[in-house]
């Protein structure tokens, strides 16, 4: 089964960190991220993983009466914002949960797991 793992975190808190501290925290968590990339790539060599630019860099696109209307993002006004996505073929939901719990963001944010639909 293919699953998407959606990484939600409080981006405002992250952006509020002094640059040096953000850099330090990122460097500190990199070995754990790399370990997850390694595990997922072993489970599915065709996996996809992307970190998104901050929510404020997003543009919201709607088409109204044939006209494209673009507003500044983010779309979802929730405390936690989508910050990254993994998509991989995994053996089952338990495996997806195990991997999700290894993601550093799960310690302060939320990992949402969704099977892929039929699009």
């Amino acid at each position: 089964m293919k699953y998407a793992m959606l990484v939600y975190g409080d981006h405002t808190a992250w952006e509020a960190l002094p640059a040096e501290e953000a850099k330090r925290q990122r460097a500190e968590s990199m070995p754990r991220w790399n370990a997850i990339f390694q595990e997922i790539s072993e489970a599915d060599p065709g996996w996809l993983g992307r970190e998104l630019a901050g929510p404020s860099e997003g543009k919201v696109v709607r088409v109204v009466d044939g006209l494209t209307v673009v507003t500044d993002g983010p779309f979802a006004e929730t405390k936690e914002q989508l910050g990254g996505i993994f998509v991989a073929e995994l053996s089952d939901l338990d495996e997806a949960i195990r991997l999700a719990a290894l993601v550093p963001s799960a310690e302060h944010g939320t990992l949402e797991i969704r099977p892929l639909g039929t699009m």
């Binding site: 998407a4 996809l48 919201v60 696109v61 993002g73 779309f75 936690e80 949960i97």
Partner: protein
């Protein structure tokens, strides 16, 4: 440069559509995939199962907390994504505007993919 188009929809709105409207929308999603692929712009894309099939995982004080359902109950939820490789945000926006949800009461959020020396995936 890569941009992700996050497709937000109200599932109740989908249920209210007629079968013909749903079929037409599905064709629209497929058409974006096919045309973006033909243009060499599509990196990846997928639809997600509804939020009723979601599982949320949080780790607090070293304990994994697993709950059924999405991370937040919202009217319009993430229903799928397209990952585009484009030169500019404007180009990505033009592709996003062709996704049926943009015209059907939903919205498409276009976000650049983070690039930096730390990006490992």
């Amino acid at each position: 440069m890569e941009f992700i188009a996050l497709v937000y929809d109200d599932p109740a709105g989908w249920e209210r559509m007629t079968e013909a409207e749903q079929a037409s929308a599905m064709e629209g999603y497929m058409a974006v995939s096919q045309e973006a692929a033909a243009a060499g712009v599509l990196v990846s894309g997928a639809g997600l199962a509804p939020t009723s099939a979601a599982t949320s995982v949080r780790v607090r004080s070293g304990e994994a907390l697993v709950t059924d359902g999405p991370y937040a109950e919202v009217k319009e939820s993430l229903g799928g994504y397209y990952l585009f490789s484009c030169e500019t945000m404007d180009e990505a926006i033009a592709w996003a505007a062709r996704i049926p949800s943009a015209a059907h009461g939903g919205a498409v959020e276009v976000r650049p993919v983070h690039v930096g020396e730390e990006t490992a995936a």
